[in-house]
């Protein structure tokens, strides 16, 4: 029996050993290929990513406007930024192991962890002090990084359907950018000295980076825009992926920057490069290298020198006008609709953004951050009258040789409304007498246009104005652009307004709900001059855009162009005193406009209860809503009771019985024919639009500026006048 039992035991143990052999045959025989390939993969290093350089932005002649230059940044591990305790615990254990205490007990680890916590707090103080930000701002910066990563995580988890760990949670995020070469050496040394362990275990590092330098400066600040931290949406839309199937090294990582305004934003795809990647192997395989691709260069149609010259002219004009807080000038090439200059005044110095942003934001009178040329909308006033005339004549609403006698009043029995305009210092309106189309434009006669508006009706007029580009995106490659307002009856009904004949009359003279941006005004002028509507272009090398010839007979165009010639060049024209350009070869034709408007609110009083007492706080704001938002941002714990406008601009009145108005002037430059008059068979070269906020009369305030711009182009930039 013992023999038998020994045999049983022996058989059990032998079969155990045999089972192992079977398993080894499976692993080392059948699956060897798989495991051998896996072992080769293990020898690959973690990929190193090579940063690319963002493309330059240059003007039409190749002058540099924005470019990257080498800089450094201070990166801090996300787990430190988010103050994760587990990370400190692991770091403490790593440090102890590294310094020869592999079997450290919990108390020792906790002690080191406590010291690391102290180091972390010291690091925040250190960064705040060195980078010149306040500790509160730095704290907010950290919160923002955390929020961004959490939002990305949320989105990714939503699509994946399960919990994920983002690369962003395991990497360094910059807390201080734009460190200079001299600073970075000192910074590195000081970090090594004060935060030795954090540096050693790569919780903090000085990393190479690039810094965007805007050599275009103040004059192009709005146009070029700026870079900012990438938004979670962008990262989710196009994440950085390094997997064989769906590799996208050009995608965004959570600490990247992206263009958030101006050309930087609109040309983001072109300007942004693609990262490179290096994988090295620990055996004798060659290093795998994917070179980074730098961003492409983007060429603007703007001429830097022209832009500077015009900016200077605007600055002078604004300085001379006490009521004018700012203005805008746009110059277009009529044939190509390339934007030659896009001036918005006042602007800001882009290099000082982080420094002065709060101050600029609080300047509710000058609004230096407002991109007036494409973002501000104003009632067009009389500059829309040529379009009204074209609409009425070409649509057949009135016969082509329509005439009307202006007596100063549309309805002689109603003398306080529907009057013609009156110049400064005159108490009764003009009575222009019998006018045809040309004369109506020359005198900018309201009465003539009222009759046309009445005949066309709101929709009849709007249908034509739409063809002129009113209320239509101008085509410019800028995210800030607003497209103006074309108050069609649909639009009006959405606002609970009625498309009454009175509105049609008002729109015919460019008042009421209708609004244009200065850029749209310039393109409107180009359409007057060429008879063709064409979207404008800011970036060279884009797709050609759709354009159309307006269905208008040449004789109608001729009459409005003659009218615009007369405005500036004939006795009795509205701007002849201010805008006339005495030049042997070129003539400036134009149209003035004075768009009546209300004053701006520049500050509001917020009333609130504190400690049982009513208190008042005055803060800069352009609207009551803005004031409410700003107040709750500043004092989230207080609840405003009442907010009232406290200060206005302009401070004074516009004169007896008048309203303030924005001063428009649009004009185009044309070569003189043999008889000294414009060569009508030739396409004019450049269209100019000028707007001065609260400038009063368009002819008086903006006319001279337009003339000076025209003169500058003729004298200094003759290349824009040649075909």
């Amino acid at each position: 029996m013992v023999e038998h039992r020994l045999r049983v035991i022996r058989i059990i143990l032998i079969s155990g050993l045999l089972l192992l052999v079977v398993r080894l045959v499976q692993l080392q025989g059948l699956q060897a290929d798989y495991f051998q390939a896996a072992a080769m993969e293990l020898l690959a290093s973690l990929p190193q990513y090579l940063e690319s350089v963002r493309g330059r932005i240059v003007d039409r002649t190749g002058r540099e406007l924005a470019a990257d230059e080498p800089a450094w940044r201070l990166g801090v591990h996300y787990a430190l930024i988010s103050e994760e305790e587990d990370y400190l615990h692991k770091l403490a254990r790593k440090i102890l192991r590294y310094s020869g205490h592999p079997l450290a007990d919990a108390a020792l680890v906790a002690g080191v962890q406590e010291r690391l916590r102290g180091q972390r707090e010291e690091l925040w103080r250190f960064i705040a002090e060195r980078s010149g930000t306040s500790p509160a701002d730095l704290e907010q910066q950290r919160r923002q990084i955390q929020q961004r990563v959490e939002q990305i995580k949320q989105q990714v988890e939503l699509t994946a359907g399960h919990a994920v760990t983002l690369a962003e949670e395991l990497e360094l995020h910059p807390l201080w950018r734009d460190v200079t070469a001299a600073q970075q050496i000192e910074l590195q040394l000081e970090l090594n000295r004060r935060f030795r362990w954090l540096v050693q275990f790569e919780a903090v590092a000085v990393q190479s980076d690039t810094r965007r330098v805007y050599t275009g400066g103040e004059v192009l600040a709005h146009v070029l825009g700026r870079l900012g931290a990438v938004t979670p949406e962008t990262v989710v839309r196009r994440p950085f992926v390094d997997e064989p199937e769906r590799m996208d090294l050009g995608g965004y990582r959570g600490w990247d920057e992206q263009g958030i305004s101006g050309v930087e934003a609109s040309a983001e795809e072109l300007l942004r490069g693609r990262r490179g990647r290096v994988i090295t192997y620990r055996d004798d395989r060659p290093t795998e290298r994917v070179e980074p691709i730098n961003g492409s260069e983007v060429t603007l149609t703007i001429d830097l020198e022209l832009q500077k010259a015009i900016y200077e002219l605007v600055r002078k004009q604004v300085a001379a006008e006490p009521d004018v807080p700012g203005g805008s000038v746009v110059v277009l090439d009529i044939a190509t609709r390339e934007v030659l200059a896009l001036v918005s005044y006042p602007a800001y110095d882009p290099q000082e953004w982080s420094h002065d942003y709060e101050r600029w934001r609080a300047d509710t009178r000058h609004l230096p951050l407002q991109f007036r040329a494409v973002r501000s909308q104003y009632a067009p006033g009389s500059i829309v009258k040529p379009a009204t005339v074209v609409a009425a004549l070409a649509s057949g609403a009135v016969p082509e040789h329509y005439q009307y006698e202006c007596t100063g009043y549309l309805f002689p029995e109603i003398r306080n409304r529907w009057r013609c305009w009156r110049p400064a210092g005159q108490s009764t309106p003009w009575a222009h007498g019998l006018l045809d189309a040309e004369g109506a434009i020359k005198h900018s006669c309201n009465i003539f246009c009222y009759t046309l508006g009445q005949k066309l009706g709101v929709d009849g007029l709007c249908q034509w104005l739409e063809m002129f580009g009113v209320g239509r995106a101008s085509g410019i490659e800028l995210p800030e652009e607003r497209q103006g307002i074309l108050p069609t009856s649909d639009w009006l009904s959405r606002k609970d307004l009625v498309a009454s004949p009175g509105r049609a009359r008002n729109y015919a003279i460019g008042q009421g709900e209708m609004e244009l941006t200065p850029l749209q005004a310039a393109n409107l002028c180009a359409t007057y001059a060429s008879g063709v509507y064409q979207p404008v272009t800011l970036l060279r090398g884009g797709e050609p855009k759709e354009f159309w010839q307006l269905p208008v007979s040449p004789s109608i165009w001729q009459s409005i162009r003659r009218g615009m010639y007369a405005v500036v060049n004939e006795e009795g024209g509205t701007a002849v005193k201010y805008a006339r350009l005495d030049h042997p070869d070129y003539v400036l034709c134009g149209k003035s406009g004075s768009a009546e408007t209300s004053r701006w609110i520049t500050a509001c009083d917020v009333f609130y209860q504190e400690a049982g007492q009513q208190r008042r706080f005055r803060l800069p704001a352009n609207t009551v809503t803005q004031a409410r938002e700003e107040f709750s941002r500043l004092f989230p714990e207080l609840k405003p009771e009442r907010i009232t406008p406290a200060a206005y601009w302009p401070t004074g009145s516009a004169g007896e019985g008048r309203r303030h108005s924005h001063a428009w002037f649009i004009g185009y430059l044309q070569r003189r024919g043999p008889n000294g008059r414009p060569a009508e068979n030739e396409l004019p070269c450049v269209a100019i639009a000028v707007l001065l906020e609260f400038g009063g009369s368009g002819g008086r305030a903006s006319g001279p500026l337009c003339r000076d711009v025209a003169r500058t182009i003729i004298e200094q930039f003759p290349q824009f006048l040649q075909r």
């Binding site: 029996m1 013992v2 023999e3 039992r5 020994l6 049983v8 035991i9 022996r10 059990i12 143990l13 032998i14 155990g16 050993l17 089972l19 192992l20 052999v21 398993r23 080894l24 045959v25 692993l27 080392q28 025989g29 699956q31 060897a32 798989y34 495991f35 051998q36 896996a38 072992a39 080769m40 293990l42 020898l43 079997l103 007990d105 399960h162 919990a163 620990r282």
Partner: protein
Amino acid sequence: MWRNVPMASWAILAATLLLSVIGVLTVWAAEGQTHVPPHAALRQSGYVAAGLVALVLMARVGYERWGQVCGMLYVVSVLLLVPLVLARLVGGLPLINRINGTYRWIDLPGINLQPAEIMKVVWVLTLAWLLQRATRLKELTGLFLPMMLTALPMGLILLQPDLGTVLLMIPVWFMMAYLAGARSRHLLLLIITGLAIVPFFWFRMEPYQRMRVVGLVLQDEQLRARVIAEPEKYRWLCDEESARQWESGAGFQLLRSKGALGNGGLTGQGWGAGTYVQHNFLTFKHNDFIFSIIGEQWGLLGCVVVIGCYLVILLAGMDLAGRCLDPFGRLVAAGLTAIFVFQALFNIGMTTGLTPAKGMTLPLVSYGGSSMIASYALLGLLISVGRRPKPTLARPVRQIMEMPHVRLG
């Protein structure tokens, strides 16, 4: 004296030395990497030399004399285990350090003493002595005393905690009881009772403890996919998160270990060559997971040689047991052989993903003084069972023992 040594003992010695050489060479190849102590191969050679001395010593003294003092040895070994348990309760004592969350070693000058290793040998000796004297083995209640004898050291070892050694002792206890003459149906009853209370413990275990066992099952990628797809259905097994993170969590070490074995293929990458040998991808490669890099260096061939060595020791040990006329010696030989081979089985099973991962060395091969000397001592004791000169009896011992009126012990 050499003439008294049977062939089987020489075979054991030969296999022992071959395994030691393979061990030293592999430790040498792994030298200079993280966690591998400096001059490990040299030290290991020293342990082998010390082991040989222990082997000769144990063999010369002989199992009979050890058996006479086994009661005292048992008490001393149990007393050696007590400070470890105390250390765990109070969180460390002088000379006793916490290593990987356990208290298993007493840090004596020159050597790290692992009392469980001593206990293993002493326990087999004592259990054999007790079984040989037990009179009521054929009754279920007669198994109570041998069980108690085992439960005391088992409990203490379990508290260190060292589940591996405990898992080793359980099958060996059954084998020895079986061999000593306990009824099969009683043993089966015990096994079935044991299995029946497993689910009770299963649902009281912490998830990470469960993962040690479940981790094995999760090797199957398709099963992992099913757990992730239908987490509700597999809740009893493991949660979705552990299945998802198996590759970087519970299964990480196993993946690496299998990777090393597979990378060896049929004939291996050669001594000191191979991804896992040369780089720090596999932890414990010089001790608990040494078999993986043996497999990488010498492939299936080398693995079969190692397993062959254990087979030789198994067959020779059982041969010694079979030839031994003294029932005590027979139980000692079979018990020692079983516990030795079981340890090898568990260790290789762990590196190949057949048994749960527990800290357990590959006897004679893994780096470590305590384990090495204990293994040599165990084999010395085993060899001594063969040393007994054949007594001259009128008829073959086998027939005497099977006579109905002869009562053993």
